[in-house]
Each structure stands twice: as C-alpha cells, then as structure tokens.
Subunit: 363 residues, 4 copies
C-alpha cells in the first residue's frame, strides 16, 4: 500500500474499515495557524453516513481526536495526527467474504496481493470509510487555501443520468462553490436533486444501486500554479481524486467533449477584463493550460461507478473450493455514494492544490 500523498506536505492515511482506529498524519503544515475545528467538523458531517434515505444506516464516529500537531487549536509545526475511533462495527457481516470476493470490489485482487492476509472486514483499507481522514485533511487544507483566497467546492453533476445544472466555468465564484453544500443535498438545482433522490430510492427498492458524476470547481489559484510535466494541476488532482473509491474517470474543462471539437471552437480567446486582468471568453480549458493555472476557474468532473455492494444475488467464485457460487451481500450499504462523495472530491482537490501552493512558498 502507499497511502501517502504530497510532494511538499505529506498526508499519510492509515486504518481499515473495522480496525481499532483510522486517521491521518499531515506533515509539513505551517506553524501558527489557528484551525477552525467547528468548520472541520462541518465538513466531516457532510461525508458522514446516516444523513438521509440514500445513505447507509451504519453509524460511524466521525469525531476526530487530535493526538498531536496542535497546541490550543493552533498548529505548532509538528505533524498533525487525527484519529477516528471505530465503535459501531459489525465484523461478523463480512466473515464469509474471504472465500467469496464481491464483484466490483477490491476483495479478489487484495487477497492475491496479500496472500490472503488482507483485512476483509468492511473492505479493510479499501473501504470508503477511509475517506473520513481524507475529508479531515482536505478541510485543513481548505482553511489554509482560503487564507490565500483559494476556494474549492463541488456538487453532484449527475446521478443515474439525471443532470444537475452545471457550473458556469467562466463566472464561477466562491459563493457558487459554497451553494451546493448549503443545500444539504449537494446540488445547485433542487428539483433535479429531488429527482435524483427518487432515482436512488427506486434503485434501493429494487435491491440495486446507482452511480453519478461530481463536478468540482476551484477559484483564486495564482496564475502559473502547477509543475509540469508530471506535477501539473491535472496530474496532481487526478492522482488525488483516484484515491477516492469508485472513481473511474476524470476530465478537466470540456474534457472528453473537447475531443470532438474543432480547434477554432475549443480554443478559448484571451481578453482583458475591465481591471487589467487576462481572462478567457470561454473556459473549455477548465482553468488549466499546459498543466498550469490560467487564472480562470478550474473545473473538473469525476465519474463514480454505482455502489458495488447490492443486495441482489450475484455470481462470484469461491476461492477456497474453486467453484462458482452465488453471493448475497448483507449489511448496510449506500445505494448511491455520490452525495457523500462530494466533500471527498473537494478534499482530494484541496489537498492536491495546497500541496502545490505549499511547494512554491504560498502555503
């Protein structure tokens, strides 16, 4: 495993779904920053389960315990360690899974990789539970970014094919980035949100699940941020976002749609706005040119596959007997991970971007 991220800071995640604790160490933070712990808890709450009909009934402790790195809430320069204790875990639900790998889960390759020693309980280190420390780290980085005028936000772009209103990639601002979070169910268009919830409920009632897309925006990045060839904004954001379970694709700006455009259509003309700033009329480039921030809002989308754990019987193999078998997954699972994935995508983006800022003395 390699659950460490960052070139100038180090974000080290640890834990398994049902281990005694899980958490994160953030090394390299600036000293002397008063962290707003209430705001961090608010971000944790957005990811926490049990918020509505679309989330798992499982109750997790999303209360971080700060072991080190803060003195009276202020960073002291030493690595910050936050731990989440695991309390409500039902390990017995998963016992049979060692023999029967769940389709679309990491069970099978993890068993091969570890010679059968992986922690099978709740998906172990591959569980979406591990996004709790990621969201914690992201919330810390977001506070540090805000001090530089950089804001990160996201919303559900689609669930089960139902589209939310898209960000306006030219006019996107910090207020809009906060809007979805303020809406509870993180969409811009509340009616679309209602329709999504119905689609989730429908899938759940059919013992099935749905996927979706999260759209994320970042404003206020200093022009030129990014370290191409291999540490450009796209490389780094992608490397972080693929750390979220169930992500199967990412695109920046016009993304895959740009592949069907003509250059004359896709190229975003430059102009001077009234205040002497260089801007582009359109933003097909998603705020990134050559891996560098162009000064326009960064916009990207991450595709999430449907929750793999569904209650319907599924075909799988029995690794012990060598025979095919039918598997029925019990336990508590979100019929759709996308709403809770929204703060995770923000967190991954915040960590990636803050790491780049920090690396050029802007963190």
């Amino acid at each position: 495993m390699s659950s460490s991220f960052g070139n100038s800071i180090k974000v080290q995640i640890f834990g398994q779904s049902h281990s005694e604790g899980l958490g994160v160490v953030i090394d390299g933070l600036p000293a002397g920053v008063q962290l707003d712990m209430q705001e961090i808890l608010r971000q944790m709450a957005r990811r926490a389960p049990g918020q509505g009909d679309y989330t798992t009934k499982r109750r997790e402790s999303d209360q971080p315990r700060i072991l080190s790195g803060l003195v009276d809430g202020k960073s002291c320069g030493a690595p910050l360690c936050a731990v989440f204790e695991n309390t409500d875990t039902r390990s017995k639900d998963y016992a049979a899974l060692r023999d029967l790998p769940r389709p679309a889960h990491a069970d099978y390759p993890a068993a091969v990789k570890t010679g059968g020693s992986n922690d099978i309980r709740g998906g172990g280190h591959f569980s979406a539970r591990l996004t709790a420390p990621l969201v914690f780290a992201g919330a810390v980085c977001a506070q540090l970014l805000a001090r530089r005028g950089v804001y990160v936000g996201a919303h559900i772009a689609s669930i089960a094919g139902i589209q939310d209103q898209a960000y306006d990639p030219v006019a996107l601002d910090a207020r809009t980035l906060r809007a979805a979070a303020d809406n509870g169910f993180p969409v811009l268009d509340l009616e679309a949100g209602e329709e999504m919830r119905r689609a989730i409920a429908q899938a759940a009632s059919e013992l099935d699940s749905v996927g979706g897309v999260v759209e994320c925006g970042i404003t206020g990045l200093p022009v030129g941020l990014g370290e191409p060839i291999f540490d450009g904004l796209e490389n780094r954001i992608a490397a972080a976002v693929f750390g979220i379970p169930a992500v199967k694709g990412i695109e920046f700006g016009a993304g895959f749609a740009a592949s069907g455009m003509r250059g004359s259509e896709n190229n975003d003309p430059f102009y001077y706005d009234g205040e002497g700033r260089v801007r582009t009329e359109t933003n097909n480039h998603g705020g990134i040119l050559g891996g560098l921030a162009s000064g326009m809002p960064v916009v990207f989308r991450a595709a999430f596959k449907p929750t793999p754990s569904i209650a319907r019987p599924q075909r799988t193999v029995n690794l012990r007997t060598g025979l095919s078998e039918e598997l029925v997954i019990h336990g508590r699972h979100d019929p759709c991970v996308v709403p809770r994935a929204v703060p995770c995508v923000e967190a991954a983006a915040a960590v990636a971007v803050y790491d780049l800022m920090h690396g050029v003395g802007l963190g």
Copy 2:
C-alpha cells in the same frame, strides 16, 4: 517544473522544443538487460513527425544518442541518458509570441509563472516535442515489461467524433495490442481510419484542427499490482498520461458511462475459466478494482483536445501593450495530434506500470 516521474525508478525529462538538446535520464533500471535499440527506434518513428498528410512538415531528429547507462547495448545499472539533438528549428517563427499568448497554449500562464523568462521558442518545455524522450523511456520500460509477460498497446478510439472499433475488454490480448501499430495509421478498423484522415484533411483545409480519443490496453499484469490509496493503477497511469500535452480527460473501463449504470449492470461477475484462473464475464472495471490489477485486461481512454495551433486568426491579448489583438499563428503544426499521440499514451502507461512492477521486485 517537475519533469520527473516514478517512485521506484526515476524518469527525468529535460529540454525545450528549440533548446540545444532534449532527452531523458532513467535511473533505477535493472542491470544486465540487453536493450533492443531497433525496437526503440521503431517506437520513436511512430511518434516522429512527417509521416503523412496529417503531421507537421517540420523535421525533427528522433535519433537518440545514448550518453550513459549502456555498455555494448546492455544496461550497466547506472542511469541511462538519451539525448536528442535539435537541428531543424526555426526559432524566428515564434518571436512575436512573447507578447501574444496563443489561445489554448501554456504561453500565458508560463509567462506569469516565470516572470517572462520561459523559453517561448516552439512552446519551450511545454512542446509536444518533449514527448520524444517520453516515448524513448516508454519503449525501454515496454521491453522490460515484455520480459514479465506484460504488454501495452493503444489505438485511436476516435478522431473528430469518428469511432474506431473499440477493444474487446474481455478478450484483449497482446496480438490485438500490436495490431494498430502494424496498421501504420493506428486504428483497428482501416475504413474508420480513412474517414478520420479525411476529417483531418478537411479541418486542415479549413485552417482548423481536430481532437480525438486514444484507447490503451495492458495485458499480463500480475493480479494485485498497484499501491492504493494514492499509488493505485489509476492514480499512477493518470499522473503519467496527463504529462502528455493536450490530454484533458482519462477514464478506466466503462469510465464515465459507468456513472449512468445500475450496480447490477456495472458489476462484473467473477468466474473460473477452464484453467483455474479467476476472470470476470464483463470488464466494466477495466481490469482495476480498488486500484489493483484484477487480472483482466486494463483498458483506459485518454481525451485529446484539438491542436491549439491553428492558422485562423484568433483573438488574444498583447501582454506588452495591455490591449486586445488578433493573432495569426504561422509555422508547421499538426492539424491533429492524435495519431502521433498513440505511442505517447503507450509510453506513459508503460512507464507508470513498470515503476509499480519495479517497486515490488518485478522489474
């Protein structure tokens, strides 16, 4: 800049489009491997310009000069350095571009980042010319992977919306991975290829450009390869592929389409094949589960925007005068980068995968 890639090997790319030389240092290669230099040159030739009506008329030296790391063609354990000399460069074409950033190019953010000191000639370090050392490094890694039974190949999935036949993600094998390269114009369906070439020619005749998608496959990966959370196969391949200019999106397996599926549809059932191997009936997961190789072929697609350099007049800003201005780009530019991007995508994938293999003692 950070033009170094790799956790267990180090691939350090250097050079600018019109600098005296450009190249790559590969540190950490195993000693005692006889490299097939002819095969490397064959890969370089696939990327080289001047192959047909769709590529730039500029002639580049794609002949690597090996400064170190090989003794009688065999790796000696010391870093391998390959240099490409720059000979046919017309720097004067680009002189005016310091004031007039080209739309959809890195010119503007690079100028801000460097305080105006970036090498503007031919796009400098952001030029697609820098994919020459990448393809060299990829060709070296591909030979090392082949010794482990791992094969990488790619083809044009689409240009200007015209689709090539897709890889069969279940049946994909090494022979199919080689097929597109053998076809010259790297498609599986030669008729679709002809149509693509006509679309490229049409765009060129209209002083315009087109984009496209490259599909890449990898077979033979050991089950379990990948180091989640942040160094899983998807994280690492994405981090490398976004190092290729013009890439704006990447998706694995069903990718964005998976976001619209039900779990019951997307989940790939496991079964035992006749020889006791675990396989999946479908391959929506693109050979990657939880960031780990599942044993099924890895399949991913990278979206390329249309060539930003078009001959039509474009609106831009004059950074010296602070006024808007019209820009006409002269010089030699591909109306479509996608055909030459095919070996670049293979190279990025080969480097990323070999780095992971090497890190677990399989390189």
Copy 3:
C-alpha cells in the same frame, strides 16, 4: 517539519513530548507477517526511562496501542499505526522556557522557525521522547530483516571518554550483536560499563552531564545492497541516525581514523574463505564500498553530545525582554542519554536498511 523516512516504505513519526499522543505510521510493510509483539515490547523497554540511576525519573508509557495494520497480530498490508498515549506529563515545568531558550536545545531556532508557535512543553517534537515511535518502527523492521538473515545490534562504544571493547569488524556475528542488549547496561565489557556508570553518577552529582559514542553493527546484508550515488548505505544510515536527538557525528569502518592512514594500510585485501565466499582480511571499509554492502559486517559509530539539560545555572537570552539572563533548568533529565540511545541507533539503522532491502524486493 519532515518526520517521514523511507523511499520504498514510509515511516511517518508524529507527536510532541507532551501532546495527547505520539506514534508512527509504517506504510508499505509486506502483508502476512506475524509480528512478535513481545519482542517489540522488549525493544521498547530498552529505550524506556527509569531503568537505573542514569536515567530520568519520569515515567512514560511505552505501551504501543496498535490502531491499524494488524489483524490478529499479522500484517494485513494496510499502514501500521502505533500510538503511545502521554499520561505522566508535567507541563508546568516548561512554561518559562518560551522566553528563555535552553542552551544546546532546539528551543531558539524552533521558536524562530514557527514564529513562536512551537510546542515548548518538554521540547515538543524535538524531544527524545520521539525516539519511542522510532524504536517501535525499528523493532518491526528488525523482525522483517531477521527473516532475511540480517541482524542489527549496537553497544556503548564510550561514555565520558571511557571505552568499551570495540566490535571486531571482521568476526562480528549475530550473537555478538545481541550481547550488549543481554547485558542490561549495553556494553561488551562489564567492567568498563561499571566505570561508565560511575562517571555518569559523578557528573549527575556535579549537576552536569556526559556524552558518548554508540557503535552499531549489521550482519548478513546481501552483497551489493545500496543505491549510490545518493542512496548508498552510508547516505541512508546517516540520514536516519541524524534523526536521533544529540547525534553530532557518524563514521563508517575506520572512519575519521582512515583519513590519517596510507592507502596500503587502509585498503582491505580480498580473499576467498574456505566456503567460496569473498571476504576481506581487515574491515577498515566497515562493510561498505562505494555505498554498497561488501558482504563484510557493516560497522559504524555515532557520536552523542552530552545531555543539554543540566541543573547548573546557564547563561541564555530572554527573547521577550531582549536581555541576557541566567537559566536554571528544573525537571527530570538523564545525565547521559547514551545507554538509552543504543536501541535508537539500532532502530534507525534497521529502518534505513530495511527500506533499501524492500526497495529491491527483499523485504
């Protein structure tokens, strides 16, 4: 701060002397290894305070709590996190130190580095308390190394100028490496040990402290281990050992003495032993040639300055008033850190060497 070590594994240390907890995350361990926790506790006990007249009266909890990474004592492939809770801390002892930096401590530069936000309690992140997680990590790595026939041991080479018998660098074996640890006070020559203890007691009675040298040996390394130029055995061991507080020098083999030798004297002749193994007649090279393991025992020495915290009045500055002042340090401090530093040096060496082994697939 950058309290992370390792190129192929990641050892991330966190905590401050008086923070709620401190600990370590070890990422990249092989799965399926049953760790001998009793052996780990034995190593922790060697570092723990309160063992004799020469150590601090402070009682620390050196009981690691394993939050993650083990299932039934066996590594599961996920990062291993061990936490030490802080219980018996007397923070009030240190309150005045914010104004009055202790001579030979990190107080002053740490205050400047952090703008006064460093955790001053007990030295914060600079405390020797932070060697507890290091010894834990070293004990884990030592168990993994032992499976490969690699053994690490150390002893006090000198305290206050009193010399222990030196290792025989040619004949050194695993049994000798264990000898000092078995002796309680970690020396080879028990009489010399008695004399050292008297010197420590004498210094303590004079409100003073003494330093010393630790000699460390490593046997069983595979010939060729090490990754020069910059990740050779010497570079890596030095980089780890200087992470132990109070270390001011390191030398390998004949070390500084070699600088006064003739080549004809220093060069170690090769010969074949009876079993076809290449060995050297002498071992001035300390088992390392060109940064690579030669197959002879690795031997190095680390110099420790005397404990900076002494009870005598000392001159310092008052950072608040800008005046010179006299400082009297209260509290509980070892008059000599060297005996407890012995397992720390072993741990640093074990981590550095295991990281190199792991990187070539031997971990």
Copy 4:
C-alpha cells in the same frame, strides 16, 4: 542506482567514468536567474585534474555543454541539463579488473549487484569523475544561495595527519570561506599546505596514497532552516556528502569530540550581540540545534580515506578462477583526492542547503 538528490529540487546525476558523456539535470530551479557561467567554470576548474603534482595526469573535459534550461544564460524554468563529454579515456587500462576487484573500490559489490554487468571502465558510475556534475550543480546552487546571503566554503583540514588551521566557528564569515579557494591549494595556512604537498609527494614516491579531512563552513542561513526529524540540516548535508566517493565520516560542530565533553562545557551559552541578534559564545553545536540552523556558522568536517588505487601490488581474488591473486593497478591516479574534494564538499553542501531553502520558498 539512485543518483537523484533533492526533495524540492531534483538533481539527477548520470554517466560513467568512460561513458560517452556524463552530466546532471537540475529540475525545479527558479526562472529568470542569470547564471554566471565563468564562475561555474572557475568552480569546475578547482575540481579538475592536472593542477599539480598531487593530481592525476589524466586530462578530462570539464567543459559543460548546456543542453537545456537556459536561454541566453538565464534560467527559463525548464530543467537545466549540463553534459560533459568524455574524450581522453583509456579503457584498456581497466580490462583485467573485471576478474580482479580492486581493494577498497566498489568493483566487487558492484559486480555482484549487477550480475557482472557494471561498467568496469574507470570505476564506471562509482568513479570520482562523477563529482564533475556534482560540482556543476553545486556551483549553480551556490549562486542562488549567494542571492540570499548564504555562502559555502571549505578547506583541507588535514592530510596525512598534517593539520591546517581550523575555522573559527564563531567568527567565520564569507571572506574566510573564500580564502582557501583563492590560495590555489585550498588551505588557510600556506605552510601547512606545503607540508601536506610534501607528504603527498612522499606517499606517491612510495607507490602509496594518503587521506585527509575537509572542513566546510556555511554562513548566512536563516535561523530555523531544516526540517526535522529526518530532513534536518545534518541529515540532509550528510546524505549529500556521502555521495562523494571516499567519504567515511562526517561530524558537525564539535562532533566526536563533543562525546567526551561535559554538558557544562559543550553547551553554547546564548547572548545578544550589539545589534539585537541572538548568538552563542562558543559554537560546539556547529550552527545546528535540533536539525535547525541556529544562526551561527554551520561547520562540519568530512573524512576521506586514502585513494584506494595505489601502484603497489595488492592481494585480491580472481572472481573467474576463484583463486587468490596479486593485483597491480596501472593507470593514472591521484595519490590524494582531498585537494580536489574540497569543491566537491562545498557542492554537496550547497545542493543540500539550497534544496531546503527552496522548499520553504527561499530559493
């Protein structure tokens, strides 16, 4: 091999003693810096052979050819690549060495490591010739450091036991740091220098060699520089300096001598100088406390073993026949590497320190 150094910049060295070329890529340099190439060549000349009776007769090209990274002598932000061509190489001198490893050289472990594929010519990648690119990189970093008021200098502390005058660790300033370089033979005390040269000549006449110690100083470091636990000044300088062939020890400040001191003697009292700066009355800590720069001059010493290549017959093994054999080394070898090592130590220190400065936005 791992010939890359740096956490925030990347210094990648490549080449073998007799390969077609050798050199260095420096990635991450700030853009817009006009490099003084004459000054770089002056530094290269200090390391170059053929300067006097004590250096090899071999003539090497120490003329760097800049392939990339500079435009009109000014850094453009892209990686800087400098290449040294190899011209005067006599490979035949070394042919027999594949069977007969030279005592105190890397030949034997390198052969085992690479399965016999290492480049044996002139020591291959282990040759002191590889310090040419290191000195180049150091000269670049030194220029960048000078812009921040940081200066690095070194001198011969001893050769064959003959002592030069030591640096005054309290009063050391930039002028003194330059003094040795200006003296040609890099000592402070010219008479001691004469004596050293006689000792070298004497050893050479006896077909033998001598070693020595280099003392290095750094002034002007910002208080607090360094990233403990594992990237403190001592860790990083040591990691770089052990990249120079023949270094077997390093000590900071009082170093090994501190191990014999009492705390009351070793602790350096703080005081305010007339201009409100905190200083210490003595400097046993060598300008480093807890891995951080204290504001006092950094002083360290590196021990060099005597040149391993001596003309006397030596005992070794024949790896082909499995028999013991006598070896006579022909060719041109320095009877003492220490004078030419002085700029190498400066270079290693400059690279290590600049990397830390760059990492906190001061580069």
